[in-house]
Every structure is written in structure tokens, then in C-alpha cells.
């Protein structure tokens, strides 16, 4: 082989552009697999900071009342417990509110995946908040575990179940006002001590609390499942 030919071959092998199929392969390979933890972290970063701050503030107020308040403040604590659910449910409708939904649906994420991730994040935040309140009541106010759950967790879960059902049936930005009305109703129910009246009237004890808790968990899981799996149609496509 002549030197010039060898030189040319050596030059070509070092300077040739990758083939089109090679470029496609590299491009496809370099894209990350979208794992669940990656998606959770990604959405967490873009989560609605204002809602988290409001949730923290509300939780702080409730914890303050639990620690430093008088025993009769327990009703006030119970009446405030539905509102973390509203704050977080409002965040779920953010992409529809700001008309980002259509763009988000044409990325690698399906609507089901996006909803699941957001529900996981908001649900976790809400449950943590009410569990902190319940724990504070048990540790500082001398309230029994079942009573603490009755005071803080039940109103939150009842509100969450009812609001998720409403959001699923009423596709409009105004559904948040319906959710606020539900939260207000549960709040008044708690403030007027109705639940204790019912417990006393029907001689319900800790077993009833446990059974009701299980029932609410089942209903909440069902509502979450239906919410995530509802029609792919965006609300403005529904006639």
C-alpha cells in the first residue's frame, strides 16, 4: 500500500463523522431512563413552593396550639386539620390552571404517571403534616393515640376523600371552591365536637376508631386510584 493511501486511511479513520445510525444510537442511549425516584425528585424541585410554605405555616400554628394551648383548643386543632388537604389538592390542579397540561402530556410522561407522582408528593406531605400534629398531641397534650387520630387525621382524611371525589366528577378550575366548602363543613363538624357526641351516643370506643381509620384508608386509596386512572381527556375536551 502506498504511503499516501495509508496516510489518507489513517486521517479518515480519525476524522470521519460518526454515521447517522451511530449518532441516533448515541442520542438514544444518552437519554436517561426515567426512573420513579428521578421523576419524584424532578417534580419535587418544581413543586409549588407557596403551597409547601402555607402547609408548613398551618402545621406550625396547629403544633403551637397543641403544645402551648389550653385543653379546649383541641377542638380548634381538629377544625384546622382539613385545610392541609385543600392546600395540597389546589397544587394538583396547577398545570391545568396555568395551561401547562397540554405541553406536559406530550413529553415522555403519561398523564397517569404525572398524576401519580404529584399525588404521591402531595399526599406524603399532607400525611406527614397531620401525623406530626397527632404525635405532638400525644407527646405534649397527654391525648391518647386514638383521640389524637380522631382529632387530626380523621378530618384530614375525610376532607381528602370527599375533595378527590369532587375533583374527579367536576372538571373545572372552580372545583377548588367546592373543596373549600367541604373543608369548611368538616371544620365546623369538628369545632362543634360532633364526633365526640356521636362516639358518646353510640358508645363507640377504640375499636370503632380503628375500623373507621381502615375504612378511610381504603376509600382514600380507591379515590386516588380513580383520580390517577380517569380519562386521558383534558377537561376542555369533555362535552
Amino acid at each position: 500500500m502506498r504511503d499516501e493511501e495509508l496516510k489518507k486511511m489513517l486521517y479518515d479513520s480519525y476524522h470521519t463523522e460518526p454515521s447517522e445510525s451511530g449518532k441516533r444510537f448515541i442520542r438514544a442511549y444518552s437519554k436517561r431512563k426515567l426512573s420513579i425516584p428521578t421523576l419524584l425528585l424532578m417534580q419535587l424541585k418544581y413543586m409549588w413552593l407557596q403551597y409547601i410554605l402555607i402547609l408548613l405555616f398551618l402545621t406550625g400554628v396547629i403544633v403551637y396550639l397543641a403544645v402551648f394551648g389550653k385543653p379546649e383548643y383541641v377542638k380548634v386543632i381538629s377544625s384546622l386539620s382539613p385545610f392541609p388537604a385543600i392546600i395540597l389538592l389546589a397544587g394538583l390542579g396547577r398545570s391545568a390552571k396555568f395551561r401547562m397540561e397540554e405541553l406536559e402530556l406530550t413529553t415522555r410522561l403519561s398523564k397517569r404517571m404525572l398524576k401519580s407522582i404529584r399525588l404521591t408528593l402531595s399526599g406524603t406531605a399532607g400525611i406527614l403534616a397531620v401525623l406530626i400534629v397527632a404525635l405532638t398531641l400525644v407527646l405534649t397534650a397527654g391525648v391518647s393515640v386514638s383521640n389524637a387520630v380522631l382529632i387530626s387525621v380523621f378530618p384530614y382524611m375525610i376532607t381528602s376523600c370527599a375533595c378527590m371525589n369532587l375533583i374527579r366528577r367536576w372538571h373545572a378550575n372552580e372545583n377548588i371552591f367546592g373543596c373549600i366548602a367541604i373543608a369548611a363543613g368538616v371544620s365546623i363538624f369538628s369545632l362543634t365536637d360532633c364526633i365526640n357526641y356521636i362516639y358518646a351516643s353510640f358508645h363507640l370506643g377504640e375499636f370503632a376508631s380503628f375500623a373507621l381509620m381502615i375504612l378511610l384508608v381504603i376509600v382514600l386509596i380507591r379515590e386516588a386510584y380513580l383520580y390517577v386512572n380517569e380519562s386521558e381527556e383534558i377537561q376542555w375536551n369533555l362535552c
Partner: protein, 238 residues
Amino acid sequence: MELVLDRVTKQYNSKIATDRISLSLKPGVIGLLGANGAGKTTLMRMICGVIKPSSGSISLDGVDVSEEMYRDALGYLPQDFGYYPNFTGKDFLMYIAALKGLSRSEAKRKTAELLKKVNLENAANKKIKGYSGGMKQRLGIAQAVLNDPKILVLDEPTAGLDPKERVRFRNMIAEFAKDSIVLLSTHIVSDVEHIADRVLMMKEGQIIWDGDRNDVPEDLENFYMSKFEDEDMEADDE
């Protein structure tokens, strides 16, 4: 590469938005013309997987529209889109890039490259709410091509653009169309006239004409108007 629509129908109660549309689209620019309410946006949303057809199927090289691989090859510019408040242009592109599965380094590189390409690099760190209509549209085009899509769907992309920006946009699209299927819907005929290789005309949910740009015997606008008049006259005769 081939995007196949097989008897795609979308029905809402008694209204048929698209009626058994069957198409086979190959790389190049396809202009979709039609009046308001013709079904163009519904068709585009089905191609993008935003809404499900009532019947029929859509696939790219055998990959169905519902699969992640299909969405990975897709870029979409809706007719009307919003943005989260406090997002700057750069934040917006980085967010969409993350959802499209680009790594952080790749997202940064593409964001910088595209902001320069659409002439928004000086406004990259400004809030989108301060952008003009034309700037928002250019940002929209940039997010659509972040992932080097094989299918690029543009719904009324030149709405709000001035003539100079419209020409710039046409040049951008012509460049993207070299390796991709670009479906461009509009009711402005001149947008299609200059860049489309193939023209589809749509009316009342149906494709009333499908052919190459060169097959149009006369000025495209006159031809477009005549097709709609012919359809109206046939309807009157019936």
C-alpha cells in the same frame, strides 16, 4: 420513517370532530389547511396523544401513540399554551427538557443552543410574563424541538408573529424538516405555500384534498378557496 393514521375518528356525543381519517406521512413538511372548526387541532392532539381517538389507530414505524417511545420522538407546539408564573425563558426550557428525559448537562446545552437559534438569548433570564406574543411563540417552538423530535406538530405556529418573524420561522422549520415529519396546521395559506412539500385540506372533520405542493394547478390560495366552494356547492345540490 412513517407516521400512519388508520381510520382515526373522534366523536363527542353527536358531533364528529374527525371522521375516519387515514394518512401516511413521511419526512418533510406537511401543511394542514382548514377553517376554524375543521378539526385540525383535534387531529393534531390525537397525533400527539393528548386525546384518544374514539376509533382508529396512530403509530410511528409501528410504535403506537400511547407508548413512551412514541412520545419520546414527539415535539408539539399547541395553539395556545401557558407557563408557570415566575418561570424565565430558560427555566421553562429546562423544565420541559427534564420532562423529556434530557440529562441536566444535555438540557443546559440544548437550552442555550435553542435560545440563541430563536433569538431569545438576551431574554433568557427574564420572566415569560414580560415576553411579547412573538417571543412567547418562539419560546414555544424552542421547547418543541428540545428533544430533536422525529415528529414535530405545530398548531397555528405563526399566530402573533410579524412578517419578519414569520419568514424566520419558515427558515427554522425548513431546517428541522430535513430528518423529521413536520405537521403544520394553519388557516394562513401563505405559511404553507412557501415551505410545505405536501398539502392537506380539511373541512368538517374530513380530508378533502391531499397532494404534493407541485400538484396544485394554480395559486394555492385560489385553489384552497375553490376546493371549499366546490364542497359547499356539492352540499347545496344534495
